[in-house]
């Protein structure tokens, strides 16, 4: 491990991240709100830190990064931007402990959308913007963004890309990683632009449309309103947001194919098909379950059922209804959806449809082997054989995911949190969903979680966003051995 090389890369990333704070500063100047000074202070602190770290390590440049170093760079960068991203909240005083500010920042970058703010509407416009903006940055990935706009990462980019976008079967849209990253961000930006237009057409102000787009496209879930999307009481806006949440939950390489004139790409892809069908199926189940109690009209049941299901399965976390008042069956379905998550290669979190599909097919094959002990069978997805090492890695992932869920819930309960809240909060943060169950449901927030619990859940959010391996590897003794 060449730590000084690693810190050099991290320093440059931190510096450019500091530059991006110019956007909330501009917002602050437009709205003349009280957060201007804290924002400028945060920006200068970040820039100064990045620059100093860079100057100390400037002689350590490298073209080739090993897989380990790639993971270290990505993990440290994410922790670094989360730390500095917390500064505006902390210096402004809206969150008076650094724990809270860090939690909010991590929740932003990891596109979780779990908040410790009890009253969102008193927060200044520029900080609301910052809160949404960091979700937008984190959604497609800060490393992927850096690969697209910063030329210096060059050849080593592949290792970084793999560490930040750890899909089971990586697909490169273009031969060069930089072109792939640029393309992904272009598609992302284009879809964001479309959503802003659609939201403004429905009567949202430019500011709200921007903030909500910044939290829909990355499946984040921060809102500028206390009541989230329910604030607007607009069927049109809800439909627009449902559509864009679903789109954000689909593999972005499929969007690229559709934009290139292959409109059937969504349907041809077996993972996408699985994701769309299961979303539809769960919508119907939940809607039927909430019909008559609490919703009298079937139309309302579908309206609220579909929004909540899509919001949870894509791991966005917007709310138009308090699902904790729904029957237990519906709540349980939503809990399952927190684990299921969106598609691989999307901005959504959770276990991801592809892994669930692989798991189900793998189980199916085991049963098949029991019946036909001498059979030769492969696990196939979309007609293609899945290599055994991919299956092995997916099984490992599922095991770790389950293990971390159990351990974190256990630790939370040890801190005195009740059972439903412990499990709900862990599932919601590990899956980057946002609202959980119990005390952290859609109309509550995470303010009442104990101090240590917030650090634990911040950790879960990072684990979920970087899909476990990239972070957990730091705890493997083999990683540190020379």
């Amino acid at each position: 491990m060449r730590w000084r090389y690693i810190f050099n890369v991290v320093s440059v990333l931190t510096f450019y991240f500091g530059m991006s704070m110019i956007f909330p500063v501009i917002v602050s100047l437009i709205y003349r709100d009280q957060s201007l000074l804290p924002l400028i202070e945060s920006m200068l602190a970040t820039l100064a830190f990045g620059l100093t770290l860079h100057l100390i390590n400037r002689r350590f440049r490298t073209e080739i990064i090993s897989q380990r170093e790639g993971m270290a760079i990505v993990a440290i960068s994410w922790i670094m931007v989360s730390l500095f991203g917390a500064l505006p909240f902390f210096l402004d005083g809206i969150l008076n402990t650094f724990t809270d500010a860090f939690f909010e920042s991590v929740s932003g970058f990891t596109t979780t959308g779990a908040s410790v703010l009890t009253n969102i509407e008193v927060v200044s416009q520029s900080l609301l913007f910052w809160r949404s903006f960091i979700q937008w940055l984190g959604g497609m990935g800060i490393i992927v963004l850096s690969l697209a706009i910063l030329p210096f990462l060059g050849v080593g980019g592949m290792q970084l890309y793999k560490a930040e976008v750890p899909t089971p079967v990586p697909d490169k849209l273009k031969p060069r990683i930089r072109d792939t990253a640029t393309l992904l961000w272009k598609v992302y930006a284009l879809m964001s632009l479309l959503q802003v237009a659609f939201l403004m057409f429905g009567g949202m102000s430019l500011f709200d449309a921007l903030c909500h787009t910044f939290t829909t496209m990355p499946t984040g879930g921060f809102s500028t309103k206390n009541a989230s999307i329910a604030h607007y009481h607009s069927l049109y806006l809800e439909i627009v947001i449902i559509v864009f949440m679903v789109l954000a939950g689909i593999n972005f390489s499929l969007h690229y194919q559709v934009l290139r004139g292959r409109p059937l790409a969504f349907w041809r892809d077996s993972e996408c098909r699985f994701f769309l069908i299961s979303t539809l199926l769960f919508t119907v189940l939940v809607s039927l379950n909430i019909y008559r109690s609490p919703y009298e009209r079937i139309g309302d049941a579908f309206r609220y059922g579909s929004f909540q299901v899509v919001s949870i399965v894509t791991t966005t976390g917007f709310a138009t209804a308090d699902y904790e008042k729904w029957p237990v069956f519906s709540q349980f379905v939503l809990l399952i959806l927190m684990f299921l998550g969106a598609s691989a290669g999307s901005t959504g979190g959770g276990v991801k449809s592809l892994r669930v599909m692989l798991f189900l097919k793998y189980c199916g094959r085991e049963l098949f082997y029991l019946v036909h002990p001498r059979a030769v069978a492969h696990v196939k997805i979309g007609g293609k054989v899945v290599p055994e090492d991919v299956i092995r890695s997916v099984m490992g992932f599922l095991g770790l995911y389950a293990g971390i869920f159990v351990l974190s819930s256990l630790l939370l309960s040890a801190l005195g949190v009740d059972l439903v809240t412990s499990m709900g909060a862990t599932a919601a943060t590990l899956g980057n969903v946002g609202p959980g169950l119990g005390l952290v449901g859609p109309v509550d927030n995470f303010a009442n979680i104990p101090y240590l619990g917030k650090w634990l859940l911040s950790w879960c959010m990072l684990l979920g966003r970087l899909e476990i391996y990239t972070l957990i590897i730091f705890f493997a003794p083999a990683f540190w051995r020379k």
Partner: protein, 456 residues
């Protein structure tokens, strides 16, 4: 952006892909073997696809339509030929290069190029290697030799001995020793680093010095470097594979007394069939008893060409130990190259490196006639035609914004007029210019060599 597709992720495919990826080109590489593909996608920024490169379906999926150049460099000639054919069906405009090693095709290379529409260039690294060995034999003391400008100019790498009179000399003083305008030191390799020298640099013992000079002046210049060696009259070849056979035939043509050692008895019979004067011996090249019996001490040169790297290295070391003054060793794994000079093996040939060299020549944009790698991957010598529309024409060299890490080391104008350039030399349209560029400067050099219009 130039898109290149490579079929076959072996040593040649890997190294060409590596080189091109560093130059920011779009590279797609296809191989049947998932392990080879994983190795590529773990270490290179290229698109790596598992599949049969000779399948039109795979080629189409990989995007052969938008590809400018296809390189078919798998180990199988047949796969390479079919890959070109299949590519031609889908995308006739793609330029196609095939590696073909079968000797039986030797006389049909031109026919393939002219008549079969699907192949633009044939690459046979074995022919290149035999040529290189021939060059190494003609320039005594050279570690590396390349021919430029149709063989009229030689590019030579030479190891400076401890007692040589040039050791410690400043470069400015060398031209007075060698005669003005005869010799240009293009690069010095000192302890694995490449130095592009200025007049102030000095030569040190054990430096690997690369220089360029006209073929006719080479003997005098070798004198300057204290390299005087008798021509080779007796040669021992270890390994009677395809390269060994080709080389032995060449030796027979030059009336050099040749012995060839081959382990496989049935191969020996084949060798004896097709060779007339050469002595074919059945045995192991690392067998001391056999070597002594065959009077190895009287040999001038031992060339080790078996398919096993370790055997080659060991046989060469053994030969040196037994008093042979020069050995040439065939090496395939590029990773070994830095190690070899440390253990005293200096003259090395590599079919793979030859293949990479001849492939790169076809990929370089502009009118590049020849390329030669030095120090593995670190730098490259390019021979190119100066186009009228290029930026480098018509101005004194010192006024041209040349990228750092690259210099013009020779200008050849018409028949027999070779200029060692200085700051006020002017390149005229149609000149053949020779450029030394380190890896980072290559993309910029390509831009300079291409036509201006492309950039407006």
């Amino acid at each position: 952006m130039l898109k290149i597709m490579i079929i076959g992720a072996g040593e040649v495919g890997f190294n060409v892909a590596n080189r091109l990826a560093h130059e920011n080109k779009n590279v797609v590489i296809i191989d049947k073997n998932p392990e080879a593909i994983r190795r590529i996608s773990d270490s290179l920024d290229v698109q790596a696809i598992v599949g049969a490169g000779n399948s039109p379906v795979i080629l189409e999926e990989a995007g052969i339509r938008g590809t400018e150049i296809l390189l078919a460099v798998t180990d199988s000639d047949d796969v390479n030929l079919v890959a070109c054919l299949a590519a031609d069906l889908i995308s006739p405009t793609t330029k196609k290069l095939a590696r073909i090693r079968n000797v039986d095709f030797d006389n049909f290379h031109d026919a393939l190029r002219e008549k079969a529409p699907h192949i633009d260039t044939i690459i046979n690294p074995e022919i290149e290697v035999v040529k290189t060995i021939g060059l190494l034999m003609t320039v005594p003391g050279a570690v590396d030799v390349g021919e430029l400008v149709d063989g009229r100019v030689k590019f030579v790498g030479i190891q400076l001995d401890k007692g040589a009179k040039l050791a410690g000399a400043r470069l400015t003083s060398i031209s007075s020793v060698a005669g003005k305008g005869n010799l240009l030191i293009a690069a010095i390799i000192r302890k694995d680093t490449l130095i592009i020298p200025t007049g102030k640099d000095t030569l040190e013992p054990n430096d690997l010095v690369y220089f360029i000079c006209e073929d006719s002046k080479l003997p005098e210049i070798l004198e300057v470097f204290d390299k005087r060696e008798e021509p080779f009259r007796r040669v021992l070849i270890v390994g009677g594979g395809r390269i060994g056979l080709r080389l032995a035939k060449m030796m027979e043509d030059q009336s050099i007394y040749t012995k060839i050692i081959e382990k496989d008895p049935s191969r020996c019979i084949q060798l004896a069939d097709s060779l007339n004067k050469t002595v074919v011996l059945n045995g192991d090249g690392s067998d001391q008893e056999l070597l002594r019996e065959e009077n190895i001490k009287d040999m001038d040169l031992v060339i080790t060409l078996t398919n096993d790297e370790e055997t080659n290295v060991l046989s060469s070391l053994l030969a040196k130990q037994m008093g042979i003054r020069k050995t040439i060793t065939k090496i395939s794994k590029f990773g070994y190259l830095p190690l070899l000079s440390a253990i005293g093996i200096e003259q090395v040939v590599s079919p793979r490196l030859s293949a990479v060299n001849s492939i790169l020549r076809h990929i370089r944009r502009g009118k590049v006639l020849a390329t030669k790698s030095i120090m593995g991957e670190q730098a490259e010598i390019m021979e190119a035609i100066a186009l009228e529309t290029s930026d480098i024409v018509g101005k004194p060299l010192m006024k041209i914004a040349f990228p750092s890490g690259a210099i013009v080391i020779g200008i050849s104008r018409g028949e027999g007029n070779f200029i060692i350039p200085s700051g006020d030399s002017v390149i005229e349209p149609g000149d053949r210019i020779i450029i030394l560029a380190d890896r980072k400067a290559i993309p910029k050099i390509e831009k300079i060599l291409t036509v201006k219009l492309e950039f407006f």
